[in-house]
Symmetry: C2
Subunit: 422 residues, 2 copies
């Protein structure tokens, strides 16, 4: 694909705008509400999942499990068998989170009664708003396709207790700016995708005093605090929601070759480009290069799945891996490898993030704004931090590691972008 | 100073024991009580200060200021003038924290009514216990020699509200192990001396849910949480107390050349050695190599002061500087310089810490157990993180940086250790 210098300059000018919008976006946690009350199109019988749209029976076991769980949680079915049958029969709509500006981790299933974090920003009179579920913790959780009373009871508690508690607390704190938390957490060794210890602590320290200023009883406040304190991945979903607002801010700039979405449903990996709107370019999802938990191997694994690589699309996660040497224990590899990944991503990005600074690289910014032109020129594909789910429902997380994106969808995207040049 | 190989082996065997005791020590926060109720020898009219013993009028302005403040806080004087006169007249005993197993930051002034963290460990049937004040925060605080109602009111609140609240909470949590918090915070970019953001957050996350399990009212719990959440140095004193227990554990091993105390009163820097008990070796305190706050320079500075270098003596702080690139902003320098300091300290230490691991050095342990023999052989002196106080009372902190210890006291210590060999 040969592109003239004039065209390249045209693209570069568009990318400058997209990059600037992404890096000046200021996502704020605004409130917590039930999805049906706030997410567009969630008022009816509908379930969302991560990644591009796919038929129920083509989705991986992990996601089918999570959808079954959501049916039972919503009391749309009283058994797993009934839920599975009804899902096959079209009892509910099944749509991708993407169509609703929702980002979902792993299976990413969202149902109307679940509360969501509402994350927004005002930009030149325009409101940008994204939504994400509340992280359930580790262990037996819906996003990894786990089923059973433990899962539903926790989801009900999140709906009835935790969500309203967060809502009341944010009324006291006012909207909470998320970029300063992410920036500080990168200084504290999180890449804020697979490692969220520092970010969760920082968010917890910020929000918990104000819990005491609400009318809630001490016992409830205790439960809410224990839940956050006990979940080292609590901030992950907030990180995803912030990244979604950041990337939505860079969307829709004519001629821009910046990537604005990466996501996968476990079958197909998809991307969007700023310059081609919501047009999706897809390629088969790849396996994660993972460190498996004891007793598991790649044979047990679901391919790369989830919307969480919105984080890398926004310029951190694996792109900030050099800042997070402590994650190496969890995902395998060496510190040098982590630095190498950050440096490699720099070759395919428009610029350096002005806010997300990496101390050990003498405070250089994280590579931000994946440029599909550079991806295709260098053949270097984006790397993403990733959890690995068992390929069957009900078996949970079996590892974590690094995934690389399939090149084909970037090539397809670039071809179309070029075809649209004036 | 020539030492035969046989002698060196004897010393090494002793150092092995001291190192093992230091690195297996398990300091726990046991309770919070008024100094007069728990610190040996604090029942009468007495004030403690950091560093070696010194006459009141020879102590730096910072410390004299803090002592004056403590007189007013204890209601032993009603004005600064009266307090100063009474201190000169010997109205109270003035002793070093060191004599009471207390560690004090900067001026390090402790008076009988102030609550202290009690940090202890049981080792082979023996109880080791150290004490430290509760960190007041930044700004107008007694440890930097600030005076006035704001300072006394905060100290009274700490005495009447915060201390008892901590005590009630620790009753619910049980003794809190401090080494896991320090180890995790080193992973999160603290060296846990000049940077305590991660450690403070981690401690806060650990302890705050249990605040709700006490009988305290919500408004009080709110105040307690706000105080901790708003003080990024809150954990510093706990870090010092843990380090004191660690170093006390290595004390008193015949023939051991391991350094077990480093401290300074702003005039003289002192050390003790494991093999020579509480014998003090002193040399004039040096200036800190500091990054000064705007409007200040070395001319305004008090020399290196405080007991907080107990942290380096225990094997972290500046010795873990490579783990804390984010501190460079605060103290100046480059990331390479931080790594260089950790590597340099390795040359004068007995071994690598098995618990305090530095991710960016591929999880090697922090250099631990300063060996006075190696110090004198190489001429490399210990480096320490340090705050810088104004030399006059009431002017507070004016910078932060790195201090190096004076070689002379190490040479004197080694000479005496050798003279005691059988």
């Amino acid at each position: 694909m040969n592109i003239s210098e004039t065209r390249k300059q045209m693209v570069d000018t568009a990318n400058e705008i997209a990059f600037k919008r992404m890096t000046t976006a200021d996502p704020k946690l605004e409130t917590v509400m039930a999805a049906k009350e706030v997410v567009p199109g969630m008022g009816s019988r509908i379930l969302l999942h991560s990644g591009p749209a796919e038929k129920y029976d083509k989705l991986p076991g992990t996601t089918r499990g999570a959808l079954i769980g959501a049916m039972i949680y919503e009391e749309w079915a009283s058994s797993e068998e009934e839920a599975d049958r009804r899902l096959r029969e079209g009892y509910t709509k099944i749509e991708p989170c993407f169509d609703h500006d929702v980002v979902g981790a792993m299976a990413g299933v969202l149902s109307p009664s679940m509360p969501v974090f509402v994350i927004g920003d005002e930009q030149g009179g325009k409101t940008i708003r994204a939504f994400t579920t509340i992280n359930e913790g580790l262990g037996k959780v819906l996003r990894f396709g786990f089923l059973g009373p433990e899962v539903y009871n926790r989801l009900k508690w999140i709906e009835k207790v935790f969500g309203p508690a967060m809502n009341l607390t944010i009324e006291k704190t006012g909207p909470i700016r998320l970029k300063p938390i992410i920036a500080e957490s990168i200084r504290r060794g999180d890449e804020v995708h697979n490692r969220n210890k520092a970010s969760t602590s920082a968010f917890y320290v910020l929000i918990t005093p104000k819990l005491l200023k609400t009318s809630m009883e001490k016992e409830i406040i205790y439960e809410v605090m224990e839940f956050m304190a006990g979940n080292v991945h609590f901030f992950l979903n907030l990180s995803m929601g912030a990244a979604k607002v950041i990337t939505l801010s860079g969307q829709g700039i004519k001629n821009s070759s910046i990537v604005t979405t990466m996501f996968t449903n476990g079958c197909e990996f998809g991307i969007t480009l700023s310059g081609t709107g919501n047009r999706l370019y897809k390629a088969p999802a790849r396996m994660v290069d993972a460190k498996y938990f004891k007793g598991f191997s790649e044979r047990d694994a679901c391919p790369h799945i989830g919307d969480s690589m919105i984080i890398e699309t926004a310029g951190y996660g694996a792109f900030a891996l050099a800042a997070s040497p402590a994650i190496i224990e969890f995902i395998g590899g060496t510190v040098e490898y982590a630095i190498e990944i950050t440096n490699k991503m720099r070759k395919i990005c428009y610029g350096s993030n002005p806010d997300f600074l990496i101390p050990i690289l003498n405070y250089s910014g994280t590579p931000t704004g994946i440029d599909v032109l550079k991806v295709c020129e260098t053949g270097i594909v984006p790397m993403m931090d990733a959890g690995v789910a068992h390929k069957e429902a009900g078996k949970g997380q079996i590892g974590a590691g690094i995934a690389s994106a399939p090149l084909a969808c970037f090539e397809e995207g670039l071809r179309e972008l070029i075809s649209r040049f004036d």
